[in-house]
């Protein structure tokens, strides 16, 4: 359906003939300075730069501040702001209508790590073809500042006192639940966020992106894990990551520093390039992924980058071997068996 740009088209037109504005949404209604807005902007930039047709994207979300954000990007895409913690099920069913579409979902730590924990786990198990972004701030914003399940133990909040429970590490949960793409980033590092969104979008299957996105209103004490100051001080990138779409020549980003470069091929033929900062980190090794997460927890670090990727598992739609025509374009002749088949059924009854 997409049209290639005309010769001599303006430089800001991407490969499907759209400008960045075609990827924007409504003005945000979240707090000024909210990390979620920064992530929305990176989603816009990433999909624009990837030349994704907005009509090929289905937006999904649950309930919470983060789940409001699909309104703030990609107005030309269909979207469904569903129920608390149950975005995964809406998305799982919603993506069956036309498997050529890809899901871009936004959830929060309240939405995913509490009521949504079950559905979060099961959408990974099923490897639904979707980017699953968790805008993680350790706090419930929309209900005005209660602890979420990712809040660190000992965190103090104004009305809640001290959090007595251990936090849930969503990346660790994702790795052990057989997610095929697990990454973590920090909203204050927009370039990495954008590159990871691009990589996640190109991954065929479920791509979990846990983005620490500080709540400027309810959880931004300097010592809190989900605050900007803490994040900036404790961020430990696994790799410098540059995403190169398959349709253009592979070029290294000018910011890329010296060091070992590893290419990871995505399902669609595109490649992500990882630059290992400390050692040869192998994101295809599940054991290594768990190790770095465990070590980060021990060392009080925020591991960012692509933590784990597996490219050998079929997506849910692949598993079901659906017809080439999208299911939602099939008509009565495809769907209603012929009268003779009913005679056969009746004959099968006693």
């Amino acid at each position: 359906m997409s049209q290639l740009p005309m010769a001599g088209a303006p430089a800001n037109v991407n490969l499907v003939g759209l400008v960045k504005n075609d990827y924007r949404g409504n003005p945000t209604t979240l707090c000024a300075g909210c990390g979620h807005n920064s992530i929305s902007n990176q989603i816009i930039s990433a999909l624009y730069e990837l030349s994704v047709l907005p009509e090929d994207v289905l937006k999904f979300s649950g309930i919470g501040c983060s789940s409001k954000s699909p309104t703030y990007f990609m107005n030309r895409s269909f979207g469904f702001n569903s129920l608390h913690g149950r975005m995964p099920s809406i998305a799982t069913g919603g993506l069956f209508g036309d498997p050529t579409l890809k899901g871009v979902a936004v959830s929060g730590d309240g939405d995913t790590a509490s009521i949504g924990m079950g559905q979060f786990k099961h959408i990974m198990r099923r490897n639904v073809n979707m980017v699953y972004i968790i805008e993680n701030n350790g706090v419930y914003g929309l209900t005005k500042g209660q602890f979420s399940a990712t809040a660190e133990r000992g965190l103090q909040l104004k009305k809640q006192g001290t959090n007595p429970y251990m936090p849930i590490d969503l990346c660790m949960e994702a790795v052990i639940s057989n997610a095929t793409f697990v990454a973590r980033s920090f909203a204050g590092n927009p370039k990495q966020v954008k590159e990871l969104i691009k990589a996640a979008y190109s991954h065929e299957g479920i791509a979990i992106l846990d983005i620490i996105s500080p709540c400027v209103t309810f959880n931004n004490n300097e010592d809190a894990h989900y605050s900007y100051p803490w994040g900036k001080d404790h961020e430990s990138p696994l790799q410098d990551i540059t995403y190169v779409p398959p349709r253009s020549e592979i070029m290294l980003d000018e910011e890329l520093k010296e060091g070992e470069i590893r290419e990871v091929a995505m399902h669609d033929g595109s490649i992500i390039i990882l630059k290992n900062l400390e050692k040869n980190y192998d994101p295809t090794n599940r054991f290594e992924a768990l190790r770095v997460l465990e070590e980060a927890q021990r060392d009080n670090l925020l591991i960012t980058g692509l933590i784990y990727i597996a490219t050998d598992r079929p997506t849910l739609a692949d598993t079901y071997q659906l017809v080439d025509t999208p299911l939602n374009r099939l008509t009565e002749s495809d769907l209603r068996p012929a009268p003779a088949m009913l005679d056969k059924v009746n004959a099968l009854m006693f």
Binding site: L58, S89, G93, D98, H122, L335, N346
Partner: protein
């Protein structure tokens, strides 16, 4: 002794998980094959193995297929229920039992036939040890066959069907049936009057259960997406869909036009179904009461967001630790108001196997036409038991996909559309479907916080306008819903209203009321909520109406009272819920208790006062 032919009930008491269901359905099917109207009901516990379970079979030359309380023939195989089973034999009836049960026979008013089941099985050395208990059940089939006259040919046909033509199990079981027959021929003397004789009353009919019918009907309705979570008594619906999809929707390229997903729970089952309905698929889920509770929030969202989806509720009794394997009609008011806030849902109510099939495909037409969840309320008795039925009939209408706009439609409209605009004045807006590539084709879906263009707003005036349109849509729905089934009796001033599987009991009760009590009644079986206009006519055409249903609180009666408040005083509830399928006896007694012997409005009102004054009630 006068022979009683083709008019008696058999009950078999066994242990759950002992393989007796093969034997029992063999008897049922064989009687059907002999042309005798017959029904079978499995009364089973929530248990995999060991607890007592009963199977009732009723042969009725007059075609009455409801459960009966009286059992003329009792077969006792389970020592644990022996005493109860012996006591349950109707006076003058026959009692067959496994003679390894060493318990006293305390009745002299019945014919008693001990059967040396274990001994006979052991004498056939060709039977592997593991199979002895299983095929042993066929001894009582053979004994009964000889004593009451079940055709061996008919038994053979039933076994061939059951074992899908596999010769080895057919032979092994048939040999046991023959052994039972031979033994009975030599050793038993007939001392009771009950016989079966050939009829032609089942010609052209089939036997099926409602869940299978619903599954096949759904497939002929073009089902594309089914998500479900196991729950008795609904599991067999989704399992039947799994069974029949490959045959009915087979394609040359080997690819699939459908997907069935076993979800992680009912929350996800309906979530996926709503997602699929939103993405343009004919989408459904199936569940029972507790599952329906879990589906509530999504059902509410789907109502407000106007997403088509079909939800089958195979009703049963209460919580999982209630009587989860017993039938009920107690989800009606819950389904009617399911959701949160002002929500009124569309409910259709199949009353027999054919309607389970018909509503299977019609539910999708309704859901897509009305862009709303459609609930189909069946029950365990209809869903899981085998019923005689006319063959399924091919849909008489093409699919109704409702108001959907694709790219070419939007081009014609020059992109001028709004998701929630009531363009046609019937409350039903136009929708687009994900994958629509028109740049103006998409919209953002949320609950009620939107305007006609699906833009976010919390404006009070816009909200109310939208809610009023939803109400209008609900009223529009009445034009599309299935009308009631009505049996009018000339001159009758008393009406009976019911729904679902109770029809067999009510039809029989109406004959008894007329013959034994001089009470003429008309009968209406409603098939949808909101009530279609014919219900209004029926309510107002009768002086008194008994609303018969299988629950405690008279849920249908309550909904009728809300719909027709001016008729409230004449809508009398005959509600009874103990988990057993309806019988003519309780329908009769319930109505008579309510009527207190008098069939006028005044008399019933007086009886009502009296019982409430006494603080005790009969059938309420």
């Amino acid at each position: 002794m006068n022979k009683v032919v083709n008019d008696f009930s058999i009950i078999v008491g066994t242990k759950n998980g002992s393989g007796s269901s093969t034997a029992n359905t063999t008897i049922l099917r064989a009687i059907f094959k002999m042309g005798i109207p017959v029904s079978g009901k499995n009364l089973f516990p929530s248990n995999i193995q060991g607890l007592p379970t009963w199977y009732t079979i009723r042969a009725s030359k007059d075609g009455f297929l409801a459960r009966r309380e009286d059992q003329e023939i009792v077969v006792a195989i389970n020592p644990d229920s022996f005493t109860k089973d012996l006591a349950s034999v109707a006076p003058g009836g026959a009692f067959y039992y496994a003679d390894d049960i060493k318990q006293p026979i305390t009745r002299a008013d019945i014919a008693v036939y001990p059967m040396p089941i274990k001994q006979i099985v052991r004498s056939d050395t060709s039977i592997p040890n593991d199979f002895r208990d299983l095929v042993g059940n066929m001894i009582y089939v053979g004994t009964l066959a000889h004593m009451i006259g079940i055709d061996l040919e008919a038994i053979h046909a039933a076994l061939s069907f059951h074992f899908k033509g596999k010769q080895k199990p057919i032979d092994m079981n048939l040999n046991m049936v023959k052994a039972g027959m031979e033994w009975a021929k030599v050793n038993l003397e007939k001392k009771d009057p009950f016989y079966l004789e050939h009829m032609d009353k089942t010609d052209g009919l089939i036997m099926a259960d409602g869940n299978t019918a619903a599954a096949i009907g759904s497939i002929f309705g073009g089902a594309q997406f089914v998500s479900w979570y196991p729950i008795t008594p609904a599991s067999s619906l989704a399992e039947a869909i799994n069974d029949y999809f490959p045959m009915l929707r087979k394609r040359e390229d080997g690819k699939f036009t459908y997907a069935v997903v076993q979800a992680e729970d009912e929350l996800a089952a309906i979530g996926m179904a709503v997602g699929a309905g939103w993405s343009g698929l004919r989408s459904m889920t199936s569940t029972s009461g507790p599952g329906l509770s879990l589906m509530t929030e999504f059902a509410g969202l789907a109502y407000y967001a106007e997403v088509p989806v079909v939800v089958w509720d195979i009703q049963r009794i209460g919580p999982s630790t209630g009587l989860p394997t017993r039938t009920s009609q107690a989800d009606l008011t819950f389904a009617n108001a399911i959701g949160h806030g002002d929500s009124e849902t569309i409910i259709i109510l199949p009353g027999n196997i054919n309607e389970c099939f018909d509503f299977g495909w019609q539910a999708f037409d309704l859901a897509e036409r009305l862009q709303t969840p459609v609930f189909v309320l069946s029950d365990l008795d209809m869903g899981m038991n085998q019923w005689m039925s006319k063959p399924f009939e091919y849909p008489d209408k093409p699919m109704d996909r409702g108001k959907v706009l694709w790219e070419k439609d939007l081009e014609e409209l020059k992109g001028n559309w709004g998701r929630y605009v009531d363009k046609d004045g019937d409350g039903i807006p136009y929708r687009t479907i994900p994958g629509n590539k028109h740049p103006l084709g998409s919209y953002f879906t949320r609950g009620t916080g939107h305007d006609e263009q699906a833009r976010y707003t919390e404006d009070n005036v816009t909200f109310k306008r939208n809610m009023d349109r939803l109400k209008k849509k609900f009223l529009t729905a009445k034009e599309y819903l299935p009308k009631s089934v009505t049996h009018m009796t000339e001159g009758a001033t008393i009406g009976i209203i019911a729904y679902g599987s109770t029809e067999a009991a009510i039809n029989e009760a109406r004959v008894q009321l007329e013959k034994e009590h001089g009470m003429n009644t008309s009968f209406m079986r409603v098939r949808a909520v909101p009530f279609t206009s014919d219900v209004d006519d029926f309510v107002h055409a009768h002086e008194l109406i008994y609303v018969v249903e299988m629950n405690r609180d008279g849920q249908l009666q309550k909904l009728l009272t809300l719909a027709f408040p001016e008729a409230a005083m004449k809508l009398k509830s005959v509600a009874f819920g103990d988990g057993m399928p309806a019988s003519a006896k309780w329908v009769c007694e319930g109505i008579l208790a309510k009527a207190n012997g008098a069939h006028t409005f005044e008399a019933v009102a007086a009886a009502d006062n009296e019982t409430s004054n006494n603080g005790s009630k009969g059938a309420n």
